[in-house]
């Protein structure tokens, strides 16, 4: 399978990428690691006229401590998240989830920004970002702006980012020593999660669900229950509240609702919720 023809331009800097997007509008797509976009292009489900390759913009690949946050460059690869000592210390949930994406080959190429900007409800990293209360930084022709994780995912494979904006950084509040868990239920190695849960305990609990709707989303009913002092089992019983999970070859909506409750209970218990 070969993608439809496209024009290819390589941006050496962030500024160059922003200029190229501004000049080419909706016909242009950013290419980072290519592990979400290229499979779609090979199936001709995506046929951009122009690819702006930002894979070599080194200034967007980093993990650094900044006070009570960790700043992660959008072009940081999953493998570099997985092995980052800063993340293992302050955000072990994010390091762990990065190590569960796809397989080693995918993790050598895929980037956190690419995964987030793709907005796939079946992806692991958007859920981790939601659970951790991350903020996304984007740069466009009119400058920089911040988008809260809970505001980013708008529809199936659709985000609040404009076609002329580049996601540059993911800012994550440190969760040093806070209980966490990631549950990914799939039938075979390297498969997407049928349902997945990323959970953070503590005074500001975050529980995010994979494949429980058209977008990566938070289980707000579970979070409310936890803030109200509910046990893991009580909170988990509300896992599917207000959610409309899809049905597909792997699972019916009913099965996903059931699975969500089981996985959230396991996640909360592993994260240390009584």
């Amino acid at each position: 399978m070969i993608p439809a023809p496209f024009e290819y331009k390589r941006a050496a800097t962030l500024a160059e990428a922003v200029d190229l997007l501004a000049a080419n509008g909706e016909d242009a797509k950013l290419l980072a690691g290519g592990h979400s976009l290229l499979p779609l292009m090979k199936l001709r489900l995506a046929t951009p006229a122009l690819l702006v390759d930002i894979g070599r913009v080194r200034e967007l690949s980093y993990v650094r401590e900044e006070g009570d946050h960790v700043a992660v460059g959008a072009l940081t690869r999953h493998r570099d998240l997985e092995t980052s000592e800063v993340l293992r210390t302050h955000l072990p949930l994010l390091a762990h989830v990065a190590g569960q994406v796809g397989d080693p080959q995918v993790r050598h190429r895929g980037t956190i920004g690419g995964s987030v900007a793709h907005g796939d409800p079946a992806s692991d990293l958007p859920a981790a970002c939601l659970a951790l209360g991350a903020t996304f930084e984007a740069v466009g022709p009119n400058g920089a702006r911040s988008v809260a994780a809970s505001e980013l995912f708008k529809g199936f494979l659709e985000t609040a980012l404009g076609p002329d904006e580049v996601l540059t950084e993911i800012r994550v509040p440190k969760a040093t020593g806070v209980g966490w868990s990631f549950q990914k239920f799939n039938r075979r190695a390297q498969d997407w999660a049928i349902v997945g849960v990323a959970a953070l305990a503590g005074p500001h609990p975050g529980v995010a669900m994979i494949n429980m709707g058209p977008v990566p989303l938070r289980a707000t009913a579970v979070e409310e229950a936890l803030v109200g002092g509910a046990s893991a089992a009580e909170a988990a019983a509300r896992s599917a509240e207000g959610l409309d999970p899809p049905g597909d070859l792997n699972a019916s909506p009913e099965y996903r609702r059931h699975l969500a409750q089981v996985l959230v209970r396991r996640a909360l218990q592993e994260a240390g919720v009584a």
Binding site: Y8, A12, D53, R109
Partner: protein, 182 residues
């Protein structure tokens, strides 16, 4: 295969690629030799390696980044070459299965696959070997569990993986032994 003349200024691969009527000139260090060529941007790395350079040891299996048959090393790390454009490899070092052996002497991972019969039909083997080389570079002394997890991206429909895992563990021992000897 002859080495193509290379431009040392391209080694970093950071400058804008040269354009020739919708095609790009790529320069890639493949198995230690500088190879250059004009490619369409949509050319996948695996097609460039197989169809243009004639390096047909890299197989295409699923063509959907699932099976790992097309695994090669880019900058020493395993990558599925069906999910990477040739233009993305411009300026990089690529190693294929053809680049592992030292003349007649097999690479320790190849030797271990032979000695442990880590294959049946052999179709997945080049990708499996390349994934194992990358795995051992990152985890020189993996446990059996780590080997199984590390080969998650490579499917074998014949062996049930048992001898493949044995081969990689044997290669880890052999690699360690070779390092001590040297």
């Amino acid at each position: 295969m002859c080495a193509m003349p290379g431009n040392p200024n391209r080694a970093g691969g950071l400058e804008a690629p040269s354009v020739r009527a919708g095609r790009f000139t790529v320069s890639v260090q493949v198995n230690g030799e500088r190879r250059e060529g004009d490619v369409e941007p949509r050319t996948l790395l695996v097609h460039w390696l197989r169809d243009t350079l004639g390096l047909t040891g890299t197989n295409i299996g699923c063509d959907t980044s699932s099976c790992g048959a097309c695994t090669v090393l880019v900058g020493g790390e395993s990558v599925k070459s069906c999910t990477m454009l040739a233009v993305q490899a411009d300026g990089a070092e690529v190693t294929t299965i053809e680049g592992l052996a030292d003349g007649e002497r097999l690479h320790p991972v190849q030797q271990a696959f032979w000695e442990n019969h880590g294959l049946q039909c052999g179709y997945c083997t080049p990708g499996m070997v390349m994934a194992a080389v990358s795995l051992l570079a990152e985890h020189p002394h993996p446990s059996e569990e780590e080997v199984r997890a590390g080969l998650e991206g490579n499917l074998c429909r014949c062996t049930g993986y048992h001898n493949i895992v044995k081969a990689v563990l044997a290669a880890a021992g052999a690699t360690a032994a070779a390092r001590v000897a040297s």
